[in-house]
């Protein structure tokens, strides 16, 4: 057990897993000597060498595509895309190759691989270093998508993703990379893909979020406690598959839900959560589920924080569902 932030946890977890399984190869831009631009692969090159910690040409299509072939051939590649915003040149490789290989070959060929990518805003990066493209991946049959928000969940989910028999898009909340430290166990703890975490129990309203926005959701929940409003706080952690059961249990019991995601509003993941709540437990609702989202605009450089659904916007939405 030691205290680690998220990015340290990634590097240590990769190290632990590479030490145990020779099939694991890390590949991407600057993952070698540089240790990754965020240092998520720090010290791996020195320990495992250039064949297992592979600096690649500056080509996301080559990184993701080669990972598909390596996986089909029996390795366990972990590809790093430097920023989620740069995944698009490799997007076809994810959609047409990684996601479809098992299905289109009738299970004859598979692509057990992980594609890691730092995502989200709040880092003064403008629209090409701040986006949340998870909806693209969730909408692609054949991909699993996770988006943890804490060091411990990062370790548990990364270990599960590496062991998974299917391609996993592993999104990392980069503004929280060094913002949170916690005790991270060193043993065999894994966290199943598709299982949410109820971070806090409450009675008046459920706030559901994931990834970077969990920090703002947490702050909103703390503020609400001061106002004597009891909040249940759920971290989805996985988006495909997602933990419908936990969400519906909480919302059905409490009747009011605020759904927080910093991705653009229209067809964001919370649209799916909201639609599912309406379809399955409409009679339990005391108010319509309310989404608090990023806006349907390119991520604005000069108003980095204003774009994000911060605690104030969350609190206003909570007030709306309480007043409904």
């Amino acid at each position: 057990m030691s205290t680690q932030n998220i990015v340290q946890t990634i590097a240590r977890t990769l190290d632990e897993e590479m030490g145990k399984d020779e099939r694991i190869v890390v590949l991407g831009e600057d993952v070698g000597k540089r240790g990754g631009v965020f240092l998520a692969t720090e010290n791996l090159f020195e320990k495992y060498g250039p064949d297992r910690v592979m600096d690649t040409p500056l080509s996301e299509a080559a990184i993701i595509g080669a990972a598909v072939g390596m996986a089909a051939h029996g390795m366990r590649p972990i590809a790093e895309i430097q920023f989620a915003d740069y995944v698009y040149p490799g997007f076809d490789q994810l959609v047409s190759q990684a996601a479809k290989l098992r299905y289109r070959s009738g299970g004859q060929f598979t692509a057990p691989m992980v594609v890691r990518m730092p995502a989200g805003g709040g880092v003064n990066g403008g629209h090409h270093h701040s986006q949340n493209p998870e909806s693209h991946f969730i909408h692609t049959a054949g991909l699993k998508v996770v988006y943890p928000s804490t060091p411990r969940d990062t370790r548990g989910l990364l270990r599960t993703a590496i062991a998974d028999e299917d391609p996993v898009v592993f999104m990392e909340p980069k503004r929280l990379y060094r913002a949170i430290k916690e005790e991270v166990p060193e043993g065999d703890e894994t966290i199943p893909i598709g299982k949410a975490n109820v971070r806090k129990r409450g009675d008046d309203v459920v706030i559901i979020s994931y990834g970077g926005s969990m920090a703002e959701a947490q702050r909103a929940a703390e503020e609400l406690e001061k106002q004597q409003i009891s909040t249940e706080l759920i971290d989805l952690r996985s988006l495909q598959p997602w933990d419908k059961e936990t969400v519906l249990d909480s919302v059905a019991r409490i009747g009011r839900a605020v759904l927080v995601s910093e991705a653009p509003h229209s067809l964001g993941f919370m649209s799916e959560v909201s639609a599912t709540i309406s379809e399955e437990i409409l009679d339990s609702l005391l108010a319509p589920p309310m989404r608090v989202s990023g806006f349907d605009i390119p991520y604005p450089y000069a108003y980095d924080r204003e774009y994000l659904p911060g605690p104030n916007r969350i609190l206003r939405a909570v007030q709306q569902v309480l007043d409904y």
Binding site: S59, G65, M70, Q97, L101, R104, G107
Partner: protein, 368 residues
């Protein structure tokens, strides 16, 4: 044969030819294939041509929805199928490679099963016709998005190199595919890694209707290999022996650690791109006829006859036996029956997740 200096020169202006159009050996070495092997190349080309004609008939009678004819490509494809080690080397076909997969040994009934989406399709009915795949033969199931298979092919070759398996990957594509970013991304990475892979470009001069001169300003495709740090061979793809020997050398050199190569074979697509295409809109009849005169099958037959390895009697027997075999294979493929509806939700993931089981319930009983 492989060690030391390569037998063939890379980056020639004219295609490498070993058998003239009159069927005369013009190589500066003696072919070292056995008589059976030499006849085998012909048998494979004839089988592929007959299968192609069968698919055209099946398509016209509405029993398959699509077909990408490989007639005119047999020289290059049969050569590739024979030059690779079937079942050991990994093959990444594109959708016009039925002659190649047939030569590699994919059973005819399974190729037809794939065309008809019956239970004999190793892909379990998941793809439109002409997208074969075969696990045991390491034939990586074809994908429609052009050139998207190139980076994964390179990935397998990098894995082979890292694990020193002695396998080689053969990645097959058309001339149009070389314009895609994925082609560049993949071949560039292969060059950097020195991966054991051979890029086989079947240049039939048309990407559906768009001719070669609209595809690239490059004099040929083989020369593009130079920029990726590997040899590029320009080969007469209507000459099965030239295609075979150049591919064989490239594959074996890759196996011995000399890295990747690109082999451009000049071929011609005798039919339209697909049954939905009307090729008279974009290419003159005279052009098609001129290429017909260079047909790889009669050309190679002339060679075998000149060598005293083939006669009319053998030809008749071959045609009859292949026809019979393919008829039986089609019967078997058809009788296996359409893939069952229950398979529809399988193989999305290793295990069918709850949310897909739920969605499956939404099919009405009559659909089930």
């Amino acid at each position: 044969m492989i060690k030391g200096t390569p037998r063939f020169e890379a980056f020639t202006d004219e295609p490498i030819t070993l058998v003239s159009e009159q069927g005369k050996w013009v190589g500066d070495f003696e072919p070292d294939l056995s008589k059976d092997q030499l006849r085998g190349l012909y048998r494979d080309m004839v089988a592929a041509r007959l299968l192609d004609e069968r698919f055209s008939r099946l398509q016209r009678s509405g029993r398959i929805s699509f077909y990408a004819s490989s007639s005119g490509h047999e020289g290059a494809q049969v050569a590739a199928g024979r030059a690779a080690q079937a079942g050991r080397d990994w093959i990444f076909p594109y959708y016009r490679d039925s002659a190649m997969v047939l030569t590699l040994g994919m059973p005819t009934r399974e190729i037809i099963g794939q065309m008809m989406a019956t239970r004999l399709d190793p892909n379990r009915g998941r793809q439109m016709p002409a997208h074969p795949g075969h696990g045991p033969l390491k034939i990586y199931t074809a994908a429609s998005p052009i050139a998207s298979h190139v980076p994964p092919a390179v990935g397998t070759a990098i894995s082979m190199k890292l694990q020193a398996t002695g396998e080689v990957t053969v990645c097959s594509l058309g001339d149009g595919a070389t314009s895609e970013g994925d082609f560049h991304a993949g071949i560039n990475f292969a060059g950097v890694q020195g991966a054991p892979i051979v890029f086989l470009v079947q240049n039939n001069r048309y990407a559906i209707s768009v001719d070669y001169n609209k595809q690239t300003a490059s004099q040929n495709i083989a020369m593009k290999a130079h920029a990726y740090g590997m040899p590029g061979y320009l080969v007469d793809g209507m000459d099965v022996l030239a295609s075979y020997y150049v591919l064989k050398e490239s594959i074996e050199r890759a196996r011995e650690g000399f890295g990747p190569s690109l082999v451009e074979t000049t071929v011609y697509r005798y039919g339209p791109h697909s049954p939905a295409d009307d090729d008279s809109r974009y290419r003159p009849k005279e052009e098609v006829e001129a290429w017909r005169k260079r047909d790889p099958l009669p050309r190679y037959r002339r060679f075998l006859e000149n060598e005293g390895l083939w006669d009319e009697k053998q030809e008749k027997e071959l045609l009859a036996s292949i026809e019979e075999e393919q008829k039986a294979a089609q019967q078997e493929a058809q009788e296996a029956g359409k893939v069952p509806l229950e398979w529809m939700f399988e193989d999305v993931f290793a295990e069918v997740p709850d949310f897909l089981r739920e969605q499956q319930q939404r099919l009405s009983p009559e659909e089930k």
